[in-house]
Symmetry: D2
Subunit: 223 residues, 4 copies
């Protein structure tokens, strides 16, 4: 695992990765002190994010070289459009946010920046570039939830955000993230080479930075 | 219907459309006299075609402007990868063709020409360009099967190709084709304009020509 | 002109366009009171912007339907890579910014958001979508400079930013902008239709918003 | 050089490369016995080819990772649109073919197949995939001309096609081809890796096959 592409990308991203996975938004969510306005802002933008996340995986279907690759991308499209968006809408309703209200909200600059950066890397580069840009999202949420669950400062009882943490710390999401790591390794073996590492690391570091900006956008809703 | 985009594209394509839907390959298939080598050649290349057809619909997921558009494209990806390819492989097995043998076959020039033409129109243009390029395939097969079923020269009994005709003449495929026509109209209303018609007609006519070349490629297997 | 696509897009964008062309950054630049740190921040990010601007016009070469369209896109690629980037580097040197220093600077979120939004619209849509997304940049700078030149509050003497204003208010840039407007009209006639207007207006309004965010990013450098 | 990517791709393509560079069309052109109808067919389709060749290099501008890469792609766009197409039109006029007549000709299936295959590889993959697909064209013509010039069976005196051979055997084109080979090596070092070789070799072999089909399309004009 220490030799996998993901830990190498994390190691190369210096503080960009830590700034993302240890962002104040995450720490406040874990101890239950995140203002609700921040979480609602995040939930709304995350809804808009999911639409472009599904588009990015549609692009990955197109960029596949064989049926197995295609089916893996298709599973992400289906998981997003058939399951995640529905669950997200249900969950948001519990927070007083209707789908119509979220769909009517303009995309925040941070949402545009991350989603379109991913899509551009995916179109300008190949599927390995695309998946590398998606990794801070797909794998990052699993890392964040696992780290917070292991942190004594995290408070689950009476924490409004407990359900969110438990979903991403749960077996289902954790194993999805491990599969994504393995898929990245498999693609690096097939389409990578040490010469590509610095470009992939730059993509990963920028994506991690834009994910941190996404938390920051949520946090600034308290103002 | 006479005012729909599809009949207008057919009318504008002159003999290109007739050359495709009334190609000798189709007439011989309908009267049962098509040499088996031609049909096997077609089946093998159609397997390779389906992979790029699924890629084109993955691209359509990416090119969608809203969730409804995305879900329609996703249904074609799923129908192709989860159902059609499987059915095709089963059907081909009955003709003595294994999936491994088909996957090992090089793509014919006609297969490359049509599939990559579609993809290029889809990437250079917008989703209406993409779906227009796909229409001779999606709607054309329904037209071909319905026309042949209505033709007294068609022979079903004792015709080895009867199952193929019945599948595309069946309610399920016919209604899928009608939905595709309606979707084209809806997109032309939303993204079209008379100024685009000549470009769309050129795309449609070239796609119909390349579909006729695809039949021709099958027919030439008898040599 | 009042019937052209550009004035219609401006009218439909409500305050988004005014927030962009009348942004504080612009007003302070015109009266000479913009802090130099803000202008340097802008110059550096504009250098990074130009690279993606050239990429977007490269994409337009690909998305062209005929030689004339291709050559118009090629002129923008050449103008950017052969002339503008060079002039920008020379001009920035006068502000104490070396090319190496600018190239080493990370792209600001605002730079990523606008450039990748343009590229994604261009890839998901057709060339009209692409050029619509580029219009707030190409035509907007001409509008900004002309408006400020006509404003009595603008001060040219002793204004460090006078050269910038004069370049974009000059005949060469003003006529380039008018040609871009005419090209937009020509494409709307050929590939547009009233059904597309709301989607084009949404693209234009978002692009104008992201351009305002770009000024804001410059302004925040004073902190 | 024997370790360069190009000779490795040639070696891996088996008979595909030989079928292309030693195609009957080429041998007959070199000994002056190619029917003029075949050459005119080739010239007309080559004009249509050049338009998509320029589009492919426009795509390469978009897919560039830095200014140097972008400028190299821009040079091909400019060489094609500003020089080659013009020279081609002049040369074709000498063969009785007007630009209008060539532009009115439908693209042959072989022209569509090769150009759109290149574009699809370029969009689905990264710039190395794109340039690999272009190599049989860019470098192949230099190899063909050099091989024929060294062949005692080649006849220059009284050969109507002598000018064609001399252009591609000339220093200018030969050095352009050598630069393209070097650029391929540079990209393979930066974005490649042994894991990618089989996929690149498959792209190269298919492109070489489609180039042979392009000659064949010319040759069949004699019928």
């Amino acid at each position: 695992m220490a030799n996998g592409l993901f830990p190498r990308l994390v190691a190369a991203s210096a503080n960009r990765w830590r700034n993302y996975v240890g962002h104040d938004f995450v720490m406040l969510l874990a101890n239950g002190e995140l203002p609700e306005a921040c979480f609602r802002r995040y939930l709304t933008q995350d809804y808009l994010f999911l639409i472009h996340f599904a588009r990015a995986w549609g692009l990955a279907v197109y960029k596949s070289e064989d049926l197995a690759e295609m089916r893996r991308a298709q599973r992400f499209v289906a998981a997003t459009l058939d399951v995640e968006i529905g669950l997200h809408i249900d969950y948001c309703r519990g927070w007083g946010l209707s789908e119509a209200a979220m769909a009517a909200e303009p995309e925040a600059m941070a949402t545009i920046a991350y989603t379109r950066f991913v899509i551009d890397r995916g179109l300008a580069g190949d599927r390995l570039d695309l998946e590398t840009a998606l990794t801070p999202c797909v794998v990052g949420y699993a890392v964040i939830a696992a780290e917070r669950m292991a942190d004594p400062a995290t408070r689950l009882e009476g924490n409004r955000y407990c359900e969110w943490l438990e979903m991403y710390a749960g077996d289902e999401y954790q194993s999805l993230a491990r599969e994504a790591e393995a898929a990245l390794d498999e693609q690096f073996a097939r389409r990578g080479g040490e010469g590509r590492f610095s470009s992939l690391a730059a993509t990963f570091a920028t994506a991690a930075r834009l994910e941190a900006d996404f938390w920051q956008m949520g946090l600034e809703a308290q103002r």
